[in-house]
Amino acid sequence: MSKSVTQPNRLKEGGRIDRSRKLGFTFNGQHYQGHAGDTLASALLANGVDVVNRSFKYSRPRGIVAAGAEEPNALVQLGSTEAAQVPNVRATQQALFDGLVARSTNGWPNVQRDVMSLVGKLGGRFMPPGFYYKTFMAPASMWMTYEKYIRKSAGLGRSPMEPDQDSYDHLNQHCDLLVIGAGPAGLAAALTAARSGARVILADEQEEMGGSLLDSRDLLDQQPAAKWAERVLEELAGLDNVTLLPRTTANGYHDHHFVTLHERRTEHLGETAPLVDGHRGARSRMHRVRAGQVLLATGAHERPLVYANNDVPGNLLAGAVSTYIRRYGVVPGNKLVLSTSNDHAYRAALDWVEAGREVVAIVDARANPQGDWIDAAKAKGIRIITGSAVIEAKGEKRVSAARVAKIDLAAFKVTGQAETLVCDTIASSGGYSPVIHLASHTGARPTWNEEILGFVPSLVKGVHAAGSARGIHDLAAGLADGVAMASQALEALGQSAKAVELPQVDSRREGAACALYQVPHEKPTLRAPKQFVDLQNDVTAGGIELATREGFESIEHVKRYTAMGFGTDQGKLGNINGMAIAARCLGKSIPEVGTTVFRPNYTPVTFGAIVGRHCRDLFDPERYTALHQWHVENGAEFEDVGQWKRPWYFPQVVNGKKETMHEAVARECRAVREKVGILDASTLGKIDIQGPDAREFLGRVYTNKWEKLAVGKCRYGLMCKDDGMVTDDGVTSCLAENHFLMTTTTGGAAAVLEWLELWHQTEWPELNVTFTSVTDHWATMTITGPEARNLLAEISDIDLDRDSFKFMDWRAGKVAGVPARVFRISFTGELTYEINVQANYAMHVCKTLFKHGEKYGLTPYGTETMHVLRAEKGFIIVGQDTDGSVTPEDLGMQWCVGYDKPYSWIGKRALTRSDTRRTDRKQLVGLKPKDPKVVLEEGAQIVFDPKHAIPMPMVGHVTSSYYSPTLDSGFALAVVKGGQQKMGETVYLPMADGQVHEAEIVSPIFVDPKGERQNV
């Protein structure tokens, strides 16, 4: 900490920092000190740090240019630990905190002595815009090698390599008026709306609200402007209808006045969110704001002038100079030359002189500037050089001099001999660009205003702009505009604005600015030293000229060819200058060239803040059945089916070893075929259907017939879309004449319910029927296997006699003392009862079943065993054996198609299109591998001729394939072209490892083809 305490550029007094609170920080391994209220940038400047980074392409030394969001150079890597790393933090927007650790994002071995700068110095000439499009093409095979080296120089900061320890959250906000920006216009607007009783949110991106008032030289009611801001903020803070959000950036303006505000809640306190009361709150928070009306009081960004070597550290924006002096008590140099096109920038020179340092000269591009500011500068004895500009900066790691010359604006040339002024700082100002980004997000194209030499926002209804954001830079006028625009917004809301008395502002005489963007040099642009337009991307005036020369005439082409505006500052400083240069080169006006479109974000936002709480355990809901705890306790492995967690299989520990899935499934399969198994089938969708037209409705949405299904009976149904392709299936039971219970696939439940509603509400509103989801109400336990009846009989009062309670019947009664509906349907081919009880009782019923089931060998099984058992029976799984291109006929399920139903049910018409009538469509068949030990790969492609050259004609693929413990062999379901007519034929499956499996086309029903076992 030896040399860290001097802060050579810190003024003894002044500024809004707290000199009593000293904060230590580290930059590039060096320790420094700053004060509470500093930004990292102001603290670095206070400590005399000139070079803060190296540029992206040419690796030139770069210093701090601006004091806010527009800063292109001062990007740092923040963080003392791996998990806390944040890349590309803008030092001008990072509040200083004690212990802050930052590094430059570029520069090797360090930012002072960078190896790549040699490349920049020597090779800069060989890297014009688009140079990579023109090179690295030969030989073709070498591009990937070239690219490897190009990539090495990519990027600014680096990603952390450990997961973030912090959390983030969202807050959904609704308000009448959202005011963005708490400068003069924003404060006046917020005050107006707040006093009128509207729900107001006032958001401002800076550490402190007040905007330009915080470093203004103006007096409001004879007091420093900041005092007025403090008073207004105090009043607003006391109102219930106002939400104040400092450190909050409006980063995206979305449709219908939905605005995202990113609040940096703790980034000024430390690199991770501090512990408060034992809780670590969200590091930052995204406010998702739905506003009735929005008022943009986002101010303006000063434009730098584009002159040779304008990137050498010590070149700053004039306004930034004032901000550092007045807000932070930091003078970023000793000898200043100011180059300006307007009056307002003069205040930088005045502030500099008042800080006790030397102003070498003010260089004004106008021939005869007149106004109060000029008079004030003259009164201070400052030399003013008119009709001139700084045409070139000298120096390498810090400005050493400015070359100043007379220029002819219209002819774009230097007209006099250049004078060299020794200085260490050049401040420049080319005017002020309203911050139109948010308005631009809405899709509205900004329009050029020649009077203010800037684009002003076009506004869709409900959006208002006030003050500098629409080119009203005068303080008094800006305040009044805030009130007026807030009143306009309130009126649009149907509310009336209460009058607000505005503070008195002394009026000031100001002359007109001149249009100056690129400053001419003695040499032509392409031969002059580099004149930077976009500092972050090393885009120069010469680069833009070259782009236009090569035919890139649209501003979008210029931008893309040169990369102008693609940086993390999104061209806040450079874009207008770039457009002006392109316009000059093309002989057009700026509005003719037009502007590019700004996109969210206004300033970059961490992924974490956008993600919010929707990560880790809360990334996506996990849906559980009522028996989930039982599954967990019994060692289930789970399968993700939609959002459900379903037991996949239940591995047991046998002789101290946990079963593999294969072993567990074989055991579970045998248990079902030989004894009894139990499956949690609660995830199947269940829809209660009531109404006198329920039956008719079913007939229209299912492919098969429903008019004769009796009360107490169940039936399998197949559902198609109107393109004839199978989309869902399930069993529907008749509970009463006008009452049905439909089941759907697990994944299809929500979609099917919506599907039914769609048809009912849009096509058949005359049908009297209602649909209600009861998926969660019922828990479903499927007991299946030869012992199922014996087991159920022990704990149920239902008459289970095979003749009175037949296959495809359902009965009500009690199971384990709990009222239950029991459905005798089967997805395994075995004797099966599906027990449905109100879900709150499920655990009791399940436990009772196991209490009684032990002697019958009751075995829990999961989805994998279910799949094997159903495939052995040739039962399809929609979504596995079908893929949206399969008709009921392709599945060989003509038995489930009511061709002669009176109503042309959904899907019927499509079955007779020319393509669906083809006989060589892919059809569902069984496949028996010639080698019973082989379990074919699911997804394996099927060919008739395995000797055919690549590309090999494929005739189908394996949809389901398992080892069957019952058959003691592999078996599969598959779709094969014309397969239903090819029983007994051999097909081939050429695999990645070179093996070619052979299989015989067989019936898809492998076990109990007559279906006797389920009927016992």
Partner: protein, 416 residues
């Protein structure tokens, strides 16, 4: 045409880059052309280039209402791959892939086609079945691909969360090593420069306002710069295809939807391959500049606004952080939207239309960029011979009447 090379670049450097030629002319429209291409994006420019180069038809105009490559060419996430499921789609995309592999040299313009490999993750058992099915099909179609285990995936992408604790653990992936990314703007510019050199007129800021149609045959187009005649007109206007079809008096089985994408700030290289996940719904690669390039989803509503809904961006980044927890502190720089013309079967339309001489190349949905050279190549053939190229034949509009759809929803999945 001034040939580009490293040597040439050095020569120009010595003359301060003051002698570079225009990459393409800015011609005045002629009254008549042999062929008019409507739409100056990558596909349209490629079509014009191959018409001139392969078929000797050089009296061609490309009519573009804005700037060349200003539509989806400039807005996509630049992924190039050919591992499609169905034979018809795979053949078309593989045709494109083969052209990609020599494109920089063919055009004398470095399109920075980087074959860094594309990985499609599987998170469920059904994902894995679909992946196996697709990779098996690719192999028998002569397209490179393999199925990776989670361990292999972890080796290729060490920064991804491949643990079992993830909400949807990664069970495997398909991997196409020849797939990768390319520099999107360069593709448009490279084709433009090469087509221009062969005599094609590239007419920017020229908007088609109608078609000249008589007796069911096209004779040219009306534009804001006057009428231009040609007996063959090919429309390659992506999201605006429906608007053009309406001008010609018919409808298409298309809906135009917003498709969003976003980039992070530039980072030092951390991800060397392309990772896609249909299930958690996100895909990501890192550009040569260092940006993480991330594809967001498609919005469900029709939209020509080149912007979509914010929740889509939220969901995408949730997926990215789920797969890459270390990116939580990385910052999103910019988002944008394109307009994609989606077909019911997620496959394109390369087809004659009810109007003789008028052809449409559209419906690429979220998968157009990767097809650029192939699309242009077969469409040029189709226009030159007035007959569907064999690779284009399955993608006729008729399929929506016969039912012979090529359902690539599985392969298209999320936008990419």
């Amino acid at each position: 045409m001034q040939r580009y090379s490293g040597f040439g670049l050095a020569k120009h450097a010595l003359s301060h880059h003051e002698n570079w030629e225009r990459q393409w002319r800015n011609p005045t429209p002629k009254k008549q052309y042999d062929v008019i291409i409507v739409g100056g994006g990558g596909h349209g420019l490629a079509t014009a280039y191959y018409l001139a180069k392969e078929h000797g038809i050089k009296n061609v105009a490309v009519v573009e209402k804005g700037w060349l490559g200003g539509g989806n060419t400039a807005r996509n996430t630049t992924i190039v791959r050919s591992n499609y499921l169905w034979d018809e789609a795979a053949a078309l995309y593989e045709h494109a892939m083969k052209l990609w592999e020599g494109l920089s040299q063919d055009l004398n313009y470095n399109v920075m086609f980087s074959q860094r490999g594309v990985m499609n993750l599987g998170h469920t058992l059904q994902d894995m079945r679909d992946i196996q099915r697709r990779v098996n099909a690719n192999r028998l179609n002569g397209i490179d691909g393999e199925v990776l285990t989670p361990e292999q995936i972890q080796e290729i992408v060490p920064i991804m969360d491949c643990s079992k604790n993830a909400r949807y653990p990664i069970l495997g992936a398909s991997w196409q090593p020849r797939a990768g990314v390319a520099r999107h703007d360069a593709v448009a510019w490279g084709y433009a420069r090469a087509a221009d050199a062969l005599g094609v007129d590239l007419l920017q800021n020229t908007e088609v306002t109608g078609f000249k149609i008589r007796d069911g045959r096209v004779y040219g187009v009306h534009t804001n710069r006057g009428d231009i005649e040609a007996k063959t007109v090919g429309c390659v206007a992506a999201g605006n295809s429906g608007v053009l079809a309406k001008m010609a008096g018919f409808r298409l089985p298309l809906e135009s939807h917003p498709l969003q994408a976003l980039v992070s700030e530039p980072l030092k290289p951390v991800l060397d391959t392309v990772v896609m996940s249909n299930h958690v719904h996100g895909y990501i690669s890192q550009s040569d500049k260092g940006d993480l390039v991330i594809g967001a989803g498609i919005d469900g509503y029709n939209g020509y606004g080149q912007r979509g809904s914010y929740p889509t961006v939220e969901h995408t980044l949730q997926a990215i952080v789920e797969m890459f927890p270390i990116f939580s502190r990385v910052r999103m720089n910019r988002q944008w939207g394109g307009i994609v013309d989606t077909c019911p079967d997620a496959c394109p339309i390369l087809s004659a239309t009810p109007v003789k001489g008028l052809f449409f190349n559209c419906g690429w949905g979220t998968g157009g960029f990767k097809a650029t050279p192939g699309s242009g190549h077969v469409f040029a053939w189709t226009l030159a011979k007035n007959q569907a190229h064999p690779l284009a034949a399955p993608f006729s509009i008729d399929r929506f009447h016969t039912g012979a759809l090529v359902d690539e929803h599985g392969a298209a999945g999320v936008a990419h």
